[in-house]
């Protein structure tokens, strides 16, 4: 089942929900628009020639303003547009390595044009390693700051060795044209949290391929937070490399007027008895705000005992914003514990607003309560207090923008 909800102009917006929680299906069951056959058959390659420049009609680009990403499709990308600074936890090691380092390229192959150009263009990579059995006593902070608008490639590898535990926060700020790869390797029994925050200035264009592999009994919590930028397109892929592994993917985004924020996830249940949970929530406000969420989950034929659930919710705060939400679930075995997804896009609920205002709460505060409430559960799930606090502050700042719009409209109407 594919559900796509659009909200254009002032027409009443239907609330659209698909919920096939705990769906169980036979081998022939497939969900969504999968024109290239199965997700498993989609071309992935390190070779530029295998993945041409897209036209925008391809399945993986059909929602994207490809013209705004053009500079990142070119094979020649520089390295000067961003400055990367790492402040590691005391237990964590940081290296800058050449592209021939054998640890690079082990977390899967590029799956689209920006991913393959990013792979071929970078000259040096940043490698963050949590040594085996180390428990990081502090957050490791990676700061990626845009310093010029030269189209730039960057490569980051985060490795959590056997039985280690760590939290790594990757922050993006400033203005940049960045084509990025983030490789995440979770070894046996390691517990890793990676948070990627896109807090770009208005004009930034950012394509990022996150490719994660999780070994036996490993756990990855992968958090994506997108606020700023002109176009941000993030494609997190997670592949299980051993049994008993878990991935939790959490996303939170807030799209303003003319911003395009796209999150395309792929969880490959290539091993039996693994668990995945995907929860993405976004708010949209302003004309031309566009959010895209695509969640692909593939349960391979031998992945017995799989447990997966993915959910996307969008809250449309004003007219003229658009949210596309497409969950795809492909199940090649009947021997699963559970598989389901849900997607819903709703408008700001006027009845909620009335209820709160009828208790004396002014409109601005009432809206703030509702939006905070919408994100509250998700923020609690992140589990990194410093990030949670920043997030709440960023949501407040976003709300200030829409409040001034609301107050402006109210004044004009009087």
């Amino acid at each position: 089942m594919t559900s796509t909800t659009e909200n254009k102009g002032g027409a009443a917006v239907p609330t659209l929900t698909t919920d096939h929680s705990r769906a169980k299906a036979d081998g022939a069951h497939s969900h969504g628009v999968v024109p290239a056959g199965s997700r498993a058959e989609r071309v992935t390659s390190f070779d530029l020639a295998d993945i041409p420049v897209p036209t925008g009609r391809e399945e993986e680009w059909r929602f994207t303003p490809v013209d705004r990403l053009q500079p990142l499709f070119a094979p020649e990308l520089g390295a000067a547009g961003v400055r990367t600074t790492v402040v590691p936890a005391p237990e964590v090691r940081v290296e800058i390595v050449g592209r021939d380092d054998e640890r690079l390229g082990t977390a899967g192959k590029p799956g689209d044009r920006t991913a393959v150009t990013a792979w071929n263009a970078f000259t040096e990579a940043t490698v963050v390693t949590v040594p085996a059995e180390a428990v990081a006593s502090d957050v490791t902070s990676v700061r990626v700051e845009g310093i010029s608008k030269d189209a730039t490639a960057s490569h980051l590898l985060i490795r959590a060795e056997r039985f280690s535990q760590a939290v790594v926060v990757v922050d993006h700020l400033g203005d940049a044209l960045l084509d990025q790869t983030v490789e995440i390797v979770v070894e046996e029994g390691a517990h890793l949290t990676v948070v990627s925050v896109q807090d770009w200035a208005d004009g930034a264009v950012h394509a990022s391929s996150h490719r994660a592999t999780i070994a036996r009994d490993g756990r990855l919590k992968h958090v994506v937070v997108t606020f700023g930028g002109d176009v941000v397109r993030i494609t997190p892929d997670a592949t299980f490399a051993g049994e008993g592994a878990e991935v939790e993917m959490v996303g939170l985004y807030f799209a303003d007027a003319d911003q395009h924020q796209e999150h395309r996830l792929f969880v490959d249940h290539a091993q039996p008895r693994c668990k995945s949970r995907v929860t993405y929530k976004g708010a949209l406000q302003g004309v031309g705000a566009h959010a895209v969420w695509v969640g692909d989950v593939l349960i391979q034929a031998h992945a017995e005992g799989t447990d997966t659930y993915e959910l996307n919710r969008n809250l449309v705060l004003t007219d003229g914003a658009r949210a596309d939400s497409v969950p795809n679930l492909e199940i090649e075995t009947g021997e699963i514990d559970g598989a389901g997804h849900a997607s819903a896009t709703g408008r700001f609920d006027d009845e909620q607003l009335f209820y709160l205002m009828a208790r004396g709460i002014p409109e601005v505060d009432a809206r703030r309560l509702v939006v905070r409430g919408f994100f509250a559960e998700l923020i609690d799930e992140i589990g990194v207090p410093a990030v949670e606090e920043r997030l709440i502050a960023s949501i407040e700042a976003e709300l200030e923008k829409s409040m001034s719009v609301i107050t402006g409209v109210a004044d004009a109407a009087e």
């Binding site: 009828a358 505060d365 905070r372």
Partner: protein
């Protein structure tokens, strides 16, 4: 001593086919400490009156006036009406996911009172009000109305009535869907509010059942968007026996 005065109120509701007139000239005066029951068959406009008084955007006042101690209520926004002392216990309370009951109550109380309630006394006040209404303390941490049963939602409405201490309370079919126990608990809450705050109550109901627990001073029968008959408590008794048939002629009976 306050007075809520409704004069020749005409209200239309937005429909797909355009505005549809519902209230056709309602006159009503309520003073502090009084309880007025508004009764009438389905579709007579009882709930429209409640929503229009609270300022629901779906309802448009086409003519008439509503004043609270001389102040023009119709000029006020929804939240201003609440802060002026008008409370609406809703027939269908709305779920607000992610906003806890405790946070909601404190936010609303702060808005209505104009200042945050004193931390220590407020906590006690909420706790004892919840006890009185047999609301499990765990509800304080739950999202507003989310997953509440029908009875729990209504008790949560009355909890707000007791905590916010409005000048006038409009109870929009608070009794509908309640079993006898819940009806008694809710009625006790309303009676406590009446005793402790001198609140004026506009009790909108389809049935006479709740009037055994909450004694009205005046009864107004709504038919076709206006008051068809008025009287004291004895009018409710007559309705109990005769139903609404004599007002509408066809099949509308008391359940």
């Amino acid at each position: 001593m306050s007075t809520l005065e409704i004069r020749d109120l005409h209200v239309s509701v937005e429909t797909k086919e355009g505005p549809k007139p519902i209230l056709r000239g309602v006159d009503l005066t309520i003073s502090s400490g009084e309880t007025h029951a508004i009764m009438g068959p389905n579709g007579s406009g009882k709930s429209t009156l409640a929503s229009a008084l609270a300022g629901h955007p779906k309802y448009e006042v086409t003519s008439g006036t509503v004043t609270l101690d001389g102040e023009d209520v119709l000029e006020m926004s929804v939240d201003e009406r609440a802060r002026a002392g008008i409370f609406l216990a809703m027939q269908y309370p709305v779920e607000v996911p992610g906003v806890s009951v405790a946070n909601f109550l404190r936010t609303a109380k702060t808005a209505i009172a104009g200042e945050a309630p004193a931390l220590r006394t407020w906590g006690k006040e909420v706790k004892s009000a919840m006890e009185n209404l047999r609301i499990d303390p765990a509800f304080a941490e739950r999202s507003v109305n989310e997953g509440f049963s029908g009875g729990e939602k209504k008790r949560h409405e009355i909890l707000q009535l007791e905590l916010f201490k409005p000048t006038f309370a409009i109870l929009d079919e608070t009794d509908s869907g309640l079993d006898v126990d819940a009806l008694r608990i809710v009625s006790e809450g309303v009676n406590r509010a009446k005793e402790t705050t001198d609140v004026g109550v506009l009790l909108i109901t389809h049935y006479t059942r709740i009037l055994r627990y909450i004694k009205p001073d005046f009864v107004h029968v709504f038919v076709d968007g206006k008051v068809a008959e008025e009287g004291g408590p004895e009018l409710a008794e007559r309705l109990e026996n005769e139903g609404y048939d004599r007002y509408v002629g066809t099949g509308a009976t008391m359940a």
